[in-house]
Amino acid sequence: MKKVFPWLVALGASLLASCSLTLFDYSNVTSKHYALVYGVTVYTSLYGAGFYPNLNFPDADARGVAAMLRAEGYFVVLRYVDSSGNEYLSTSSASTVLTGNVMVDKTGTSGPCKANISADIQAYFQNVVGPNDVFIFYFSGHGMQVTSSPPVEYFVPEGAVQYLNSQWVGVPSLSVADYELGSMIGTLSTKRRVVILDTCNSGGFIGNSLEADSIPPASLGSAGGVSIPTLLAALANYLNFSSNASGLSPYGDGMVLSAAGRDESCYEASSPYNHGIMTYFLLQAPQSGDLNHDGHVTVAEAFSLAKAGVDTDWNGNSAVQTAGETFEPRISGGPIDFVLW
């Protein structure tokens, strides 16, 4: 919704500032910043990168996000499979290598598989992350939807793709569903959990049960807007509100930034992107993400930057439209936004 009567809003803000009405002082609250970052480019060693089911750029996504967050002071654990099928683990802070920063192992036991994701949360963050700290979970790779009722969405880690009935499929039991990720990160003592997924169907991880999104689950690039059905859905959600959301609840589990809608695919591309499209624009957040010029970048600001990039640059491309490869990033609702840096 666009700003209405900007001068009145400015007057309200000015009154707030000029009267020094800072009634609540949180200057003594300090946050440390942690991130767990994954990327899977190669799912099978039978083919090279870029040949299905393998992808091209998730390792570049993960390395890029890890570098961005480290530069912003995050302690980052990075695990990825590169375009040659090598697995890497890097556990370093912004300036200090805490352990051997590279481990190569093609056996599949050291990469970003489901077991390691759960183990990483326990090993690196369980006893470290405090109640006021920020924790970011990032994954780039495949995502999928099991069309049960209701549908369940997964992201597909290493080892979760198999060749069955003449096609490559994601195996749900080896993949990570929204509720499973919720359980994993729910063990952390902080509520400031941010999940960023550059995968297909990742919008299914968003568990809004109060908000109605004017962009449908498979928007294919539609910008959405105010409509009577959306307003009625919002009213119905208010009347039937349950904090037990399907997916990660923004009212307790965490805030999700997803590349695509629940019923939607997202894409990666070579030059000039050389990344997943959403991640490409997300990586510009340190330079361009402070949308309100307050000196900080929040999750919503980073989302807005990435969404604007996808909308104007990618979805606005006629070749992309012709190929039917438009998509729309999504974000959780809830009244709280977190400061990323």
Binding site: M1, K3, V4, F5, L8, V9, L11, G12, A13, S14, L15, L16, A17, L21, T22, L23, F24, D25, Y26, S27, V29, S31, N132, K191, R192, N208, L210, E211, A212, D213, S214, I215, A223, G225, V226, T230, L231, A234, L235, Y238, F241, Y251, G252, L291, N292, D294, G295, T298, A300, E301, F303, S304, I331, G333, G334, P335, I336, D337, F338, V339
Partner: protein, 183 residues
């Protein structure tokens, strides 16, 4: 709505149309985070129909913007834009007159709003009801009694299901015009 229509069909000649703009100050708390203040502002368009000489019933269309809170403590209460519909009762009386200027009036409102809002940077819409009480001071100019200029101080509570509480206060300035002459 039926009651409102019934009211309006009778004393239509005394219908008042007004507009008000204001700056808001809001305090919200929830989700295990402490309270913070948020600034904002907006405007509303309203209609008033007399019930008795000192009491009127009104309905309003509101458009408001609530800015994000500050970033201290590493968290932010998100900003949002709101559009809403309201109904209210208004009582008003004369408190004095100064012939060269006009008549001074004072009164109050009590009402409820149905609000739809959208979070800043998103396409996410949500609903909440709101109750409001307001005190105001008005001035009807001697040469134009149909026009009232009004300074208002509304206070409201938003019943958000994702917040422990949310209150706001505002200062508003507006005017209304009564068709068929002054009151």
């Amino acid at each position: 709505m039926i009651i409102f229509l019934a009211w309006t069909t009778g004393p239509i000649s005394a219908l008042s149309l007004g507009m008000n703009g204001g700056a808001t100050f809001q305090i919200a708390s929830g989700q295990g985070f402490g309270p913070k203040e948020q600034g904002g502002g907006g405007a509303d368009l309203y209609f008033l129909v007399p019930v008795v000489p000192w009491l009127r019933i009104g309905t309003s269309l509101r458009l408001y913007e609530t800015l994000p809170s500050d970033t201290t403590g590493g968290f932010v209460y998100r900003g949002y834009g709101t559009g809403g519909l309201g109904v209210f009762l208004e009582a008003e009386g004369s408190v004095g007159a100064w012939a060269p200027v006009g008549t001074f009036e004072a009164g109050g409102q009590i009402g409820a709003n149905a609000d739809w809002a959208a979070y800043q940077y998103t396409s996410l819409f949500f609903f909440y009801p709101e109750v409001m009480v307001e005190g105001f001071l008005g001035l009807r100019f001697a040469g134009l009694p149909a026009l009232q200029v009004r300074l208002s101080l509304p206070v409201s509570a938003q019943f958000r299901r994702d917040l422990d509480y949310s209150f706001s206060a505002a200062i508003g300035l507006g005017a209304n015009y009564t068709f068929g002459g002054g009151r």
